[in-house]
Assembly symmetry: C2
Homo-oligomer: 463 residues x 2
């Protein structure tokens, strides 16, 4: 397939500024009209750039944007191909295509940020600066607790943005929240804590990780004030994983009375509260809820990550643990892998110090709020009468369904129509009312509207 | 301290090209003559650049080079300070300085590569390319086994350079050799293998990691053919960690007869051989010794890393395990941290595919061979009559000492004179003759000569 002829591209109609958007839109049209069909090879970026007399970067960026929309994909042999049929606005009523496996799903199931907004240029600048000044020691075997530069930057950032009380000497850099949970599980076990209580509903992924390392989990119900602490105390557990600032997935904030009760519980059982502060930076309508950690630093283990602000692929998180667990956590990290890679740590420290991380967060907060509004509007329109929860913060919300419906069945039907959505029951082990967890972070408003419209039709046509 | 006046720098004498080298040399002179004393603050890079009318990058690079020589160091409050007294060529006979703790040690103790040769520009180029084409999926939660792009590149690289037989589907990306050993220990334990045999002498660091995870270690003597397999079979162990291509620290190559005996042992006890291929890329006088893995892929676990070619700080390694252990290793990695960060994996894949890694290795091989030759020459000169072992490959060698000497005492005396060197006894738990392990990778010939001259004097003056 050569050049732009077959695409009918006329570069003379492109604006002198905004060529990337122009090219992206033209190519998207060609995909929608079938001029480009699944499996077809796209022209090489250099060839297309030459033919249009555009810079190659413009073409690369247009391909990248379409790749992130799931329309293009890297070919095995290099180059780029057409990955998927775009979802035209009028196809929702049609039957599923004959080869659903080859289609990319519109994935509204995860509480992920908009990864197409990853600050590539800022990250590269930070990494270049880190490399330019990195000493041989910084490139060598590093501190398993984390690069001192990053721990210093994080301590200040966490104090300012989350009210966390920790000196740099007490911050432990982890491989995301999973890295923190695996270390903690091992260390708690050596303190004869072999089970952990978890919120129900609660994050399915964390439940699986804890389940790998510990002997048992105790699901504890969540109500409108958050975790039911009275129920927790009946489990016999001495550790609990909670999401106080923004319960996952319900979005409830743990009430002040429950916070006090939770700390009293930990004192009473000589146990620990693991505070997963996973997406607290995204609060749209008022100031963020402060972290609990500073109110009982000898009982609360504070963990969080950059997965919701930058990208899960960075595997970058942190924890602050009570002093008596600190050394053992660092030693376990040392024995696991000697600590996180240095360069990304130094780059992140640079991004925090330079204000680039703060700017990224502000920009994402605006973008995600707009999408939250679009998702809520679509739910009101296509799922009238369904309760919407957890809209004040985060990257997802929960739609309550009428009690007689089977949320897993609806999610399966949605998947057959090309939409991945999580049933609330996937995050529960106790009985509870059905619902759908909708992640709006990665998706432009029009795609959210289209996806929720399908969900509305499915719910309306349930037997 | 302001600007360059006190340094007597005259920018008009600088060449128009090579200003960085000129500036580095002038500053090194100022350090050597005492114009700059330990603890003094260096001028800010921007201020000095302005005063000399140089680009700031020139000053930053000069500071960086001097930092890597251990002469400058980052100050706690930002900025750069004088870290250490440079070792003048005529100071070896003098008494130790009054404040040895404030001096940077000349560290010839580690088998590290020359980290000042880290290919910063090539790495940034690879990372920029990886970021330019990374999809949202690649920035999201990734494959715990490793990025498919990297596994594909590694499988081809390992087949070509080490004779390792593995499809991309069988390569597991790890957080260096330590990350591989921690996963393996956990998986072997679930197969009722709770102890491991190790070479004696053998790498102290790996012994500590295995000791953390397992219930016991069995030291097995190494002779001129490598590990004593008859002694291994008397231990009752079912797993052994060996360095067949280049035994650490002795440098012995495991003989063909011993390789066959080792595999027969593994078959006999239904056990596993962990082949640590840690620095096999550096072989100076003939072709590298092939890895063992392909001769018994159902018994041999092959592990290695980039710590000796790029930098330990990348925490990037890999392993290929027998099929029956594969899934469990990947699952354990998932539960530990969901896998390695994606961006460095994609950058490394790019460096392998583009040939940049091969070029780096060729260049380092030349540099390290030259240093090896300098170290050997210095040993012949200052430690006449001492046997030198392990010079054919790697980044270190071993100097055998007369049997009545205490190598740990000599290492302690060397440290008091500013030289960090490892006694052979630190890598042993069985009795054996004394020696010194000298890492030559990071050090220019003149520094190696100076350090070995000190060792020669210390050995000659032992009681």
């Amino acid at each position: 397939m050569s050049g732009s002829n077959f695409l009918g591209l006329d570069p003379s109609t492109a604006p002198s500024r905004g060529r990337t958007t122009w090219l992206t839109d033209r190519l998207r049209d060609a995909l929608a009209t079938g001029a480009l069909t699944p499996g077809a090879r796209m022209p090489a970026t250099r060839a297309l750039a030459d033919e249009l007399a555009f810079s190659r970067g413009t073409v690369v960026e247009a391909y990248r944007r379409l790749s992130e929309e799931g329309l293009l994909a890297a070919n095995r042999g290099g180059g780029t191909g057409v990955a998927a049929i775009p979802m035209p606005r009028d196809r929702h009523g049609s039957s599923p295509p004959s080869e659903p496996a080859t289609r990319e799903l519109l994935n509204i199931s995860e509480g992920a940020p908009d990864l197409s907004a990853f600050p590539r240029a800022a990250w590269l600048r930070a990494e270049r600066r880190a490399l330019a000044t990195a000493t041989a020691q910084q490139l060598g075997y590093a501190d398993p607790q984390g690069a001192p530069e990053l721990r210093t930057a994080l301590a200040a950032w966490l104090a300012r943005s989350r009210g966390v009380a920790a000196t740099p000497g007490r911050v432990i850099v982890t491989a995301g929240v999973t890295g923190a949970l695996s270390l903690l599980s091992q260390v708690l076990r050596s303190h004869d804590i072999t089970t952990c209580a978890i919120e129900d509903p609660g994050a399915h992924g964390n439940r699986r990780i804890l389940g790998h390392w510990l002997d048992g989990l105790h699901p504890v119900a969540v109500d409108d004030e958050g975790l039911d602490v009275a129920a927790l105390s009946r489990t016999g557990a001495r550790a609990v994983l909670v999401t106080p600032a923004h319960q996952f997935p319900t979005g409830v904030v743990l009430s002040p009375a429950r916070r006090r009760a939770l700390i009293a519980w930990a004192e009473g059982v000589d146990g620990f509260v693991i505070e997963d502060d996973y997406d607290s930076e995204y609060r749209y309508d008022r100031a963020p809820v402060r972290a609990m950690q500073s109110t009982a630093p000898d009982r609360i283990i504070h963990i969080s990550s950059l997965s919701k602000v930058l990208a899960p692929a960075l595997r970058m998180g942190w924890m602050i643990v009570p002093e008596r667990l600190h050394e053992e956590c660092v030693r376990t990290r040392w024995a696991t892998d000697l600590g996180s890679p240095s360069l990304p740590q130094l780059a992140l420290a640079d991004m925090i110090e330079s204000g680039a991380l703060e700017r990224q967060l502000r920009s994402l907060r605006l973008r995600h709020r707009e999408r939250r509004d679009a998702a809520v509007a679509a739910i009101r329109r296509y799922l009238p009468g369904c309760r919407v929860e957890g809209i004040a913060a985060g990257l997802h919300l929960v739609v309550g369904l009428p009690p007689h419906l089977d949320d897993a069945a609806i999610a399966a039907q949605a998947e057959a129509e090309g939409i991945a959505v999580q049933p609330l029951s996937a995050h529960r082990s106790l009985p509870g009312s059905p619902g759908l967890v909708i992640g709006y972070g990665p998706h432009p408003s029009a795609r959210l509207d289209a996806a929720i419209r399908v969900l509305g039709r499915l719910v309306a046509t349930q037997p």
